[in-house]
Amino acid sequence: MNVSALPVQESGAARLHIDSATIGYDKRVISESLSVSIPDKSFTVIVGPNACGKSTLLRGLSRLIEPSTGQVILDGADIQSYKTKEVARRVGLLPQTAIAPDGITVADLVARGRYPYQGFIRQWTEDDEQAVRRAMDAAAVTDLSGRLVDELSGGQRQRVWVAMALAQHTDILLLDEPTTFLDITHQIELLELFTDLNGTGHTMVAVLHDLNHAARFGTYLIAMKDGAVVAEGAPSQIVTAELVEDVFGLRCLVMPDPVVGTPHVVPLGRDRGRS
């Protein structure tokens, strides 16, 4: 696969960061003077209560919405200054709202991830074919490639969507609640896939609801509340009972995960907790 030449990164600055931006929809402001930096090569997990601006942050980072003030910086330049397809070659996003057209097969759906590399008469080059094959291998869906997406289980389907995002061949991959609606086995399987992808050099950014998954799989955590970042850093350093109570209003105990030693959150529960 030909690795596209990327501008040399200024030392210190992350490839993707937000610089005191105001983001929201129409006139409804979600986040004001928000500054967030996605560490290169990290598996960053964004956590926070519902409607705290997690998805909005992802949409800002992938240029789906434009900040009304401030900037999103990608590889040293304002993300708005890029051509749309150029952004799509550097930053991929798997939104919650992805829809599989009726009657589409797995390989066909994965191949749609190649859009930013294709033109009107250049729709299926050797590069496209190789990228699709590698993406399906990485997401372990090669065996499903001829199947209809409608026929797959939730876990398989989510891996297919990840394969489509991988076929887009971006170094940075944003995932909006990728594990929602999956059973525990498929959640872990998918999170391990993200860890593997992170290990092969991808910068992964995921919104997750499960704090224990976030702490266990994420290498970097961003905790948000009311559109602002409350804490960020390595999970072992920032996940404390105080933080969870502050962000989620939930009293809990934080103890080491018995398997890997990362922080594990145990709610204290009814009658003792909820503010």
């Binding site: 829809i99 057209p101 009657g103 097969t105 749609r112 008469i121 887009q168």
Partner: protein, 348 residues
Amino acid sequence: MSTVNFGRRVLVLRRGRIAVRLDWRPVVVCAVLALAVVGLAVLALMTGSYQLGPGQVVSALTGGETGLVHDIVVEWRLPRVVAALVFGAALGVSGAVFQSMLRNPLADPGVIGFSQGSYTGALLVILVVNGAYWQLVGGALAGGMATALTVYVLAYRRGVQGFRLIVVGIGVSATLGSLNTWLILEAEREQAMAAAAWGAGSLNGVSWNQVVIGGICIVVLLLSTAVLSRSMRQMELGDDTAASQGVRVSPARLGLVVVGVALTATVTAASGPIAFISLVAPQIARRLARTAGITLVPAALVGALLCLAADYIAQHIAPTPLPVGIITVILGGGYLGRLLFTEARRRL
């Protein structure tokens, strides 16, 4: 190095800067449809009060005949056949565009009121300025666009959801239907007669002039649709997905609405509203070609075939010659009823 298994046979063409992947089945289906269209067109050119043989038709078309046979084939019957073909293709593609965009088989310019709006626009041109064909096209286009805008605004509630837009469109369509009736009732008798006959959707009065002007408009619009088709296909995955893959969603959608409305409006201006072809053609095409989502070329061919067949039935098989729009209403009405029923059951 193994090739990717798409679950169906694919055809890969790579030469120079060209690299295309096609599914075999749609290619074969399109070829068969094209043959059927040509066959039916020849049959339509043969049939009439003066019967001709296929040989005479072919030789008239290739300039081998003079006199009466030439006049019958080229001057009388050909404009109507070409009109049925081109208008049918335009309607098929217009329906495909809206069904893809709203991700709903009910989304059809006829059902959601855009054809009625085009008709209102054209009607106003007839009644007020008694205009020429190109003025009718302008009026139909303006009426269709105004209706599209109205439906969009009425259906807007923090974004537009497909089924809500369709329900609003059906309401707007009914309102415009009454408005059209009122306009005709208020008009002078002669104009009203002309408008009413035309309003049933007929290829009876279609002249070479209309076919050429309409045909050029439609060819340009179909080419524009082809350019937009890659964005359209990507948008079937959801707006956010398409945007994150590098589609400029808002301009693409605006472009698709404009070509979709314009295709319907061009046809409506020439022949009046020919209902249901835009509704059924994309779905028939999708089932025949077994493609993922909506595809344009098969939809165009099915549209052409349906329009030609409906006009043939209207002219030659019905007990008295009927407007083609009546036949499509009869054939499409049942289909629409079934769709509405299943759709409502799914959503409510």
